[in-house]
C-alpha cells in the first residue's frame, strides 16, 4: 500500500517537472509569465531611452496640434536637444536634461499591462517589431509601439486612453543611430529625496514614488514604468471654492483639484483622469489627516 502511494507521488512529481521543462515560463512565478523573447524585447526597450544615441526627425501629434521636431539624443554626454521645426525659421536647438531613472523591469510591467509582440512594418527605413502594452485596469494608458529591431528605440508610438481614444502619436521620418552607452544605473536615492510635506494614503496598484521634493512647490513623482505622474501641491487661495478642472495635451493630463481653505493639488502625467482623481484624494499632509 505504501509502495503504491510512493509510486503515485514519484509519477506526479516527474510529470510536473516534465511539463515545466516543456514550458519554461511555467517555472517562473505566476505574476511573471513571459517568454524569453518578450523579456529581452521589453528589457531592451526599457533600457533604450537612456542608452542609445540617435539623431532624427519626428512628427508628433497631440490634441489638434502636430509638429515636426528634430531630436538629438546623446546618452554619453547627456546633451539631448530638440528643435521645433514648424515654429520659426532657423529655430535653434533647445537643450533638455532629464533625471536618471531605472525602470522597474519587464515583470513589473507585465503585471499591469498585457504585453504582446508581433512583427512590425518598416518605419523611417528601418525594420521594427511591434510591442503593445494594454493596461489590465483603467488606471493607465495603452501604448502601441513599433520598436527598432536592432536598438529597441520606439520609432512609432500611439498612446490611447483605456476607452480606446487615441491621445497622441509620434513617428520618426528619419533616424540615424550613433552612440550606445551602458544603460543608466544611477537613480535618485532615498537620501537625495527631500521629503515632501505630503504623503499619499494609498498608491494606485503598480505605482511607486520615484522622486519628491519641496521646490518649486511640494511635489511627488510616481511611475509604474510606463505611466508617469507628478503631483504638485500649493496653498489654496482663500477666495477659491472647492472644485476641479483639467486640460489635456496629447497623453499628458493636467488635473487641478482645490480643497477649500486647504490646498490646491495639481496632478500632471500620462494617466487617465481616474488615476489623477485617486491621487488627489489620497494626498495627506505628513503627520496630519488631510
Amino acid at each position: 500500500m505504501k509502495l503504491w502511494i510512493l509510486a503515485l507521488l514519484v509519477w506526479g512529481a516527474s510529470s510536473t517537472l516534465a511539463r515545466a521543462a516543456d514550458h519554461p515560463d511555467q517555472q517562473k512565478p505566476p505574476s511573471c509569465v513571459m517568454s524569453e523573447t518578450m523579456t529581452q524585447a521589453v528589457r531592451g526597450f526599457l533600457a533604450a531611452s537612456s542608452s542609445v544615441g540617435y539623431r532624427g526627425t519626428m512628427l508628433v501629434e497631440y490634441g489638434g496640434d502636430r509638429e515636426f521636431i528634430a531630436v538629438h539624443v546623446d546618452p554619453v554626454s547627456g546633451g539631448n536637444e530638440l528643435t521645433r521645426l514648424n515654429r520659426a525659421v532657423g529655430a535653434t536647438p533647445r537643450p533638455v536634461a532629464s533625471l536618471p531613472r531605472v525602470s522597474p523591469g519587464p515583470c513589473h510591467l507585465a503585471r499591469y499591462y498585457g504585453l504582446a509582440i508581433e512583427p512590425g512594418s518598416a518605419v523611417a527605413g528601418r525594420a521594427t517589431y511591434r510591442l503593445s502594452a494594454r493596461p489590465r485596469d483603467t488606471l493607465r494608458l495603452a501604448y502601441v509601439m513599433d520598436l527598432d529591431a536592432e536598438f529597441h528605440v520606439p520609432l512609432r508610438v500611439l498612446a490611447a486612453s483605456p476607452e480606446g481614444q487615441i491621445l497622441e502619436r509620434y513617428e520618426f521620418a528619419d533616424i540615424v543611430f550613433s552612440a550606445k552607452a551602458a544603460p543608466a544605473s544611477a537613480s535618485v536615492s532615498d537620501d537625495e529625496l527631500a521629503a515632501s510635506k505630503y504623503v499619499l494614503a494609498a498608491l494606485p496598484p503598480g505605482f511607486t514614488i520615484v522622486n519628491q521634493g519641496r521646490q518649486p512647490v511640494d511635489f511627488i513623482v510616481l511611475s509604474d514604468g510606463l505611466a508617469n505622474v507628478s503631483i504638485f501641491v500649493e496653498n489654496q487661495p482663500d477666495a477659491l471654492p472647492s472644485g476641479e478642472g483639467f486640460t489635456l495635451r496629447g497623453s499628458s493630463l493636467t488635473y487641478t483639484r482645490g480643497f477649500a481653505q486647504q490646498k490646491l493639488v495639481t496632478v500632471l502625467g500620462e494617466v487617465p483622469i481616474t488615476t489623477a482623481r485617486l491621487l488627489a484624494e489620497a494626498l495627506r499632509q505628513r503627520g496630519g489627516t488631510q
Binding site: S49, S50, V73, A116, Y143, A160, R169, G250, S252, T266
Partner: protein
C-alpha cells in the same frame, strides 16, 4: 482623384432628404470604397453641423453618419417594412464588413489580439472600444485638444479650475518632463509637450 460632380449631387440630395434609393446606394458604395468620397461626405456633414449648431461637429464613423442621415430623412416614397429592413440591413452590413475589413481581425477579438493593427493609417482597433480613425497628417476628430468636464455647460467653478489646470500645465510640465523623461517611451517627447513659453531648461 476627385469626387465626381454627380456623386456630390447625390450626397447633397441624401443629406437634404431628397435622395432616391439609387442615390443612397451610390453614396453608401462610394463612402465605403473611396477615401475621397468619404472625406467629402465628412466635410458636408461638418458644414451642415456648423450651420445648424454653430459648432464644428466631430464625425468619426462615416457609415454611422450615413445611417443617421438615412434614419433622419423623410421618406418620399414609403418603402414598407421589407424595404426599411433592407436599407437598414445593407447599411449595417456595410458597416460591419467595412469595419472588419479595416480592423483586419475578428470582431470577437482574442486575448492575444494586438491593441492596434495599424498605426500610420487606417482604423486602429482597441479591444472594448469603438474603432477610431488613426491617420498621420490629417486632423483627427478623436484627439480633442481639451475634454469637457461635463456634457453640460461648465459651472463657473469648473471654468476657473480648467483655467487653473492650463496654467499649472504651463508651469509644471517642464519639471514633470525632467523627472519622468527616462521612464517614457521616448525621452524627448515629454519635453516636446511642454509649451514653448515655459522657461527653458
Amino acid at each position: 482623384m476627385t469626387v465626381a460632380d454627380a456623386m456630390k449631387e447625390s450626397m447633397s440630395a441624401v443629406i437634404d432628404g431628397e435622395g432616391s434609393e439609387l442615390d443612397i446606394a451610390r453614396v453608401l458604395k462610394a463612402v465605403e470604397e473611396d477615401p475621397e468620397a468619404r472625406a467629402h461626405w465628412q466635410r458636408i456633414q461638418q458644414t451642415r453641423g456648423l450651420l445648424r449648431t454653430g459648432q464644428l461637429e466631430r464625425s468619426v464613423d462615416v457609415s454611422q453618419a450615413v445611417r443617421q442621415e438615412l434614419e433622419n430623412q423623410p421618406r418620399r416614397r414609403p418603402l414598407g417594412a421589407l424595404g426599411s429592413l433592407a436599407v437598414a440591413a445593407s447599411v449595417t452590413f456595410a458597416m460591419v464588413l467595412g469595419g472588419q475589413t479595416m480592423l483586419g481581425h475578428s470582431p470577437l477579438g482574442s486575448a492575444a489580439s494586438p491593441i492596434a493593427t495599424a498605426v500610420p493609417g487606417g482604423v486602429v482597433p482597441i479591444p472594448g472600444a469603438a474603432p477610431v480613425q488613426a491617420r498621420f497628417g490629417a486632423p483627427n476628430p478623436t484627439m480633442p485638444a481639451r475634454l469637457p468636464v461635463t456634457k453640460t455647460a461648465p459651472s463657473s467653478a469648473s471654468a476657473i479650475y480648467n483655467q487653473l489646470a492650463r496654467e499649472r500645465f504651463e508651469r509644471y510640465a517642464q519639471e514633470h518632463a525632467r523627472s519622468t523623461a527616462n521612464l517614457q517611451p521616448n525621452a524627448l517627447v515629454p519635453f516636446a509637450r511642454v509649451p514653448e513659453k515655459a522657461p527653458a531648461q
